[in-house]
Amino acid sequence: MSLSRAKIRKRQRMYVIGAILLAVGGAAALMLTAFEDSVVFFFSPTEIAEKSPIDPDQRLRIGGLVVEGSVAKQDDGQTIAFAVTDMAETVPVSYRGILPDLFREGQGVVAEGHMSSEGTFIASEVLAKHDENYMPPEVAESLKKSGYWEEIEAKNAEQMRN
């Protein structure tokens, strides 16, 4: 009796361990494939200029400062065009919809979408769920790379003093 019971228990443990391994393995495989094709990379305008032409199917994020005076409404009344810069390169962006609360000319912005074949970034989302005097870190990073960070910082400090 005790022997058969031990046997049963052993078999059960095998089942359980097998099921868990299967589940974990499956999840890991799923995750690896998902990382491969649904992770969104971030590009600064300079990187976009370097890597163009970019495959229009690839989803990506761009970030930078909104060029002052570049925000304009298209003729259909709903599409908004603006330009994003890291002070070295500039990428035109078009977006259909309502811009978020903290979208301002001269401020940092991150947009998600894809590049069109004409070199315009078609944004499906413009992200700005943050504080007003906060710079998205990717944007800060790309500005540092392009060497204009100090200038922006000085300008911001100036504004703070006023």
Partner: protein, 692 residues
Amino acid sequence: MLAELGHFALLLMVVTGIGQAVLFSPLWLRSSLRMFSPQKAPATPVGSPDFPDDDRDGHADGAFAPIVAKPANLFLLPIAILLLGLLAEGALLNAFIVSDFTLPVVTDVSHSSTPLLYRIGAAFTPDGGAILLWLVALSLVNLLLAVQLRKSASLDADRFARNALSILGMLIAVLGVVTLIDADPFLRVTVVPLDGRGMNPQNQDLLKVLREPFLYLGLAGLAGIFALTLAALLDNRIDRQFAETMRSWTIASWVCLGTAIAINAYRSYSEQAWGGWWYWNTSENSLLLPWLLATALLHCRAVLEKTETLRSWTAFLGITTLAVGWFGVYLTRSDLFAPLPETQILPIDSNGLLIGFCVVFAAAYYLFWRSVDQMGEGRCFEVISRESAMFLNSVMLALIAAVVLIGTIYPLVLQWITGEPITVGAPFYVEVLVPIVLPLMFLMAFAPALRWRQDELWMIGRRMKLAAILSLITVLFVSIRFIDLSPAPLIGIGLAGWILTASLSDLWARLWRHPEHGESKYRNLQLLGPRYVSMTLAHIGLAVLIAGGSASSIWEEQVVVSARAGQSIQAGPYNLQYEGVSLLAGENYATRQATFILYRHSQPVTELFPEIRYYPIRGVETREADIWHGRDGDLHVSIGDRDDDGGRVVTVHYLPMMPWVWGGMLLMLIGGCFSILTRVILRLKKPGVSTS
């Protein structure tokens, strides 16, 4: 002056916490010695009133017995800690209410013109304030746990209670030290600013204010579970009694965390440009993680209580749930994840929170690892049984939690390694989680209909026949009616129907068909018991939630137009007439409020007022959508800027069946509350009788 008093109270709280940890714990050493010796702890039921002669046991064990304490001893320190915590919290709240700008925390997130309610709410937003709130919740849990474990008739039970309280005392001390080092909210500055920088307008929302207490109460409840689990591990008593003790705590923290999630979802939904009701960002994920594991724990605990199996898995979940909750707090509080943070970015690093986390959980997992061998397995169960279904479900829930955790920290790790900034968003989670969630839901319907210990496949087939047929009919109906549907939402709807019909047919069978139940229907209803009712409510709630989510994602309609006064906008069965915008003054903001009249089939239904608010203190605009929850769906209206030609950009979303999502969440929470309430009522009615 009051701030200093609060500071002192916080300091004393740390000291008292350490005191509680040490005074209650000469047992630590003793129990661990006992744990590593081969013999098992005697399984004396905890707190059972049927064991009046435990005194004899105590004398026999007298040489090793801890200092036998009078009952008052168990309460003294927890009460002191709670009072000190309330004093500290009160001092902080007072500083915010009177706008005491000598405290930098107040200056950073408040302003004299902020309305009173939001000044109070602002007190929870900085790191120090948030952890202080957690501490207060913890000390409340500490006292409640002392009350719960007070009836320690036997020495074993007394030691168990003291170990648990001692661990909680240690947690309070650690978190108190973290608050004092990382983000002391009571520091003063000598140069007093004239006024504050103002609350972040995006936090100025009643729901946000409500969310914080629920979140931290939930986390504190998890800490209670953690303490109970460790104490049980020390004594090697992961048994039925332990499961019974843990019951209210699991359900209560599950309800609190669920409420926080529901509030968070509704808030993201009603704020325009926040990306809908679920966006998979860090703050949402850090709420979801402990909730998922708490759900898994809820089910394992039930198995443990019923059959004394799954011991090590339950203990593991009991520890990990708090670990994940704590890590989530760290993630949202640290500025590691800045792409879309909701919290304030203040120059505060939360390293203490991380170090405390590492120390506490390294110790906890070490203890777990040492005692897992001695735990012994429970009785065995068959592959086809309710135990194994619930176990499998909890494994899958844990797997989902693991995926969410990895998805959340993966960008961070990758950026450390390669320096490449990436984002992991909704597509990733959908791709990975859908194949896990669908079988989970498929299995979920089986568990209530399965028998404990052993069941037969053909029996289940007979029981589930009706549900299977009905859900297949639903799928066929939907797929014929709407031919060009993508498969995933269709399967979602089908599975929602499957869970719903399975729950209802099981209920039906129990009420009308069950041979063991009496003839009277009323008697049958009574025999169901509160557990069954709350479980069914929660399962139906989840089914409704999933059906609503799937349907609204399929049939969502979005209209963006540039509207002029008098223009009408069509969305679904609704017709919106734009009446224009008026400038109004809010409490501490100016608002442009648009007026829409909503018609359904040309019958006026209601008026909607989406707004653009301007907060002058921070110079920030926020856009508040207005939502109509109709019987066939939500209508979500928000306004944007004025056009050059005088029109105004209006975005209208029509989300069919979206009210189902909110209703489903509500049903799940009601299920949890029902379980707690019936237990409390039974306790009050017949003291000492448990509801099992």
